[in-house]
């Protein structure tokens, strides 16, 4: 699980061009949007694409999606259970 979280952080940094950040800067339970990493709607679409391309997960339900994108912890747990790649 820790390996998956690290991989996820690296992929997020790469996809969102957070060049001044390293994986250690992202806390596992910190909110990804607004007060946490401060991501916005364009970043959310990037994360959806990241989930689709790298883990074969398509998030279509808004309710479920909002829960998944709460933090690195919630994303990693969801990927672990639902990944097809």
């Amino acid at each position: 699980m820790e390996d998956l979280k690290l991989e996820l952080k690296e992929r997020i940094i790469d996809a969102l061009h957070l060049m001044d950040m390293v994986p250690e800067d992202i806390e596992d339970d910190a909110p990804l949007f607004k007060e946490g990493l401060g991501l916005d709607s364009i970043d959310a679409l990037e994360l959806m694409l990241l989930m689709e391309k790298n883990y074969g997960i398509r998030l279509a339900s808004p309710q479920e999606g909002k829960q998944v994108f709460k933090s690195i912890n919630t994303m990693a747990e969801y990927i672990k259970e639902h990944r097809t790649k």
């Binding site: 709607s41 679409l45 694409l49 998030l59 279509a60 309710q63 999606g65 909002k66």
Partner: protein, 295 residues
């Protein structure tokens, strides 16, 4: 794009006012409604100074018109904007407009492909009329709308656009609409989005528009570059009392497909700015961004 430079996306009036307006359009000739509006516009220009001034500055600085021509141009712009709003209500009441569609094959060609595509509109002309005339037989079209729209207006729009296989997606404060949008594109549907105003993200791309630096929202261009999607742009321009010309353009090029993501989104924004430039030179009075668009 700073908040004070953005339009709030609110529609004005109460549901009963909208219903009354639609009822009026069922019985009153459109010409009579235009005439009444023509008398009201000077008051609107006096009491809504920011809107008036932004158009005056646009005509003076960006179109290079003289002061007197710009002043009367402001009146004509406000009048045309009023007719665009009235035509929407007239359409809700069942009135029909003559529409000449140019290059529809670009739309039908992409619709026949399995992948989805984006369609950019802007606050030039009356983009809503495109939705009434452009029936999407093969793919569903998803139109991203501002969240400030009144429910009564939204209900009328859904009523009008639904039979044309068009779904409205409201860009709400939370992220829910993004999942719907993402699923639509993944399913190969069409997403129609304004490419001249920000919502959801303050990030912008810098372009040259009418000889000066302007900012277009990053979202629509990033979305296209992210998924490497084809992009169309459409303009619905008023050509007479009951007449519109709808122009469709293909924005992406084979060269863009070979570019990296960031380069491609900038190339798309530049191409869109060039297209806006051309349309605004030909139809300078149908520019309806009533705030200081240029810094």
């Amino acid at each position: 794009m700073s908040e004070e430079r953005q339009w709030s996306g609110q529609t004005h009036g109460t549901p009963w006012m909208h219903r009354a307006l639609i009822a009026m359009f069922k019985v009153c000739p459109l010409e009579l409604m235009y005439l009444i509006m023509a008398l009201v516009i000077p008051f609107y220009m006096i009491f809504y100074r920011p809107g008036y001034l932004s158009i005056y500055h646009y005509l003076r600085r960006r179109q290079g018109w003289g002061p007197v021509r710009s002043f009367f141009g402001c009146y004509a712009n406000h009048f045309l904007f009023g007719t665009a709003l009235m035509d929407r209500f007239a359409a809700y009441s069942g009135r029909h407009f003559r529409t000449d569609m140019h290059d529809f094959h670009l739309f039908s060609g992409l619709s026949a492909q399995p992948e989805g595509f984006l369609m950019y509109t802007s606050h030039v002309g009356n983009p809503e009329m495109t939705g009434y005339m452009l029936k999407s037989e093969v793919k569903r079209m998803n139109v991203i709308t501002f969240p400030g729209e009144k429910s009564s207006i939204r209900a009328w729009r859904e009523n009008m656009l639904g039979p044309n296989n068009i779904r409205l997606i409201s860009a709400t404060e939370d992220m829910s609409w993004l999942f719907t949008l993402n699923a639509a594109l993944a399913d190969g549907e069409i997403v129609n989005i304004h490419a001249d105003r920000s919502f959801g993200s303050p990030k912008t791309l810098e372009v040259n528009l009418l000889g000066a630096q302007a900012h277009l929202p990053l979202g629509p261009f990033s979305l296209a570059a992210m998924r490497n999607l084809p992009v169309l742009a459409s303009f619905s321009l008023k050509a007479g009392i009951r007449r519109y010309n709808i122009f469709i353009y293909r924005l992406d090029t084979p060269e863009m497909a070979a570019m990296g993501r960031e380069e491609r989104q900038q190339a798309l924004a530049d191409a869109y700015a060039r297209l806006l430039d051309d349309v605004l030179h030909r139809h300078p009075l149908q520019w309806y961004n009533f705030y200081e668009f240029w810094n």
